[in-house]
Symmetry: C2
Subunit: 130 residues, 2 copies
């Protein structure tokens, strides 16, 4: 039986965020001492650890909800794998988008390096009307 501060340091999830997770239903409403202070057991610790890791892996709250079976019942192995695969796919897409961006930016930057004209070619190329 630990306090919210202890739970926070064990999981690396900030206190405010734990309370927020309770508010939005990702964490169950914690039991309280007579003073109103929250107390947690190992089940809570496991659940918050899970949420924290999912967060580190970039899963959305909606995904985490599904993985935890918050609104529906506990998901099957198939459903879990499907959520994970879907997330991987969107990460790959994001990587490819960012790589394109990076290439464009490097092209644009290169126009500047060897230029001391009064007008900035970066700004010019970005404002150009076709």
């Amino acid at each position: 039986m630990v306090s919210i501060g202890d739970l926070s340091s064990k999981t690396g999830v900030k206190i405010e965020t734990i309370r927020y997770f309770e508010r939005i239903g990702l964490m169950p409403i914690a039991e309280r001492k007579s003073s109103g202070h929250r107390v947690y057991d190992e089940t809570s610790l496991r659940r918050l650890t899970f949420i924290g890791r999912c967060r580190e892996l970039g899963f959305s709250q909606a995904d985490i909800r599904s993985l935890l079976g918050v609104e529906d019942n506990t998901p099957s192995c198939d459903e879990i794998l499907s959520i994970t695969t879907h997330h991987r796919t969107s990460i790959k897409a994001k990587i490819s988008d960012l790589r394109k961006l990076e290439r464009r930016l490097s092209e644009i930057s290169s126009t500047c390096l060897s230029n001391d004209s009064p007008v900035c070619p970066i700004i010019e190329s970005l404002s150009e009307i076709y």
Copy 2:
């Protein structure tokens, strides 16, 4: 002299977003017809085109503000190159983070494929307390 709808279709920036840009000071307060309808000239078109392209390149609003010299005066070529380079660096960092994520996810997924145990190894590994 064009309407907000025309400006929107020329730049690909949604009407609501144009009004929003005006509200937050990225775009100057537009001149109005007696009816209150906004009218724009080519200067506006160039400015919005610039903002739109920056947005596509993933620059933050703060960056765009600096590039446009909204709060300070017009930035020098050096400042422009510095903002651009900084942005590139953070994109590269993001790419490398996402790649790590992707690898972790693929490891995690692989534990599931060949397993029909009653307990999901993905969920287990993510909830595990050390």
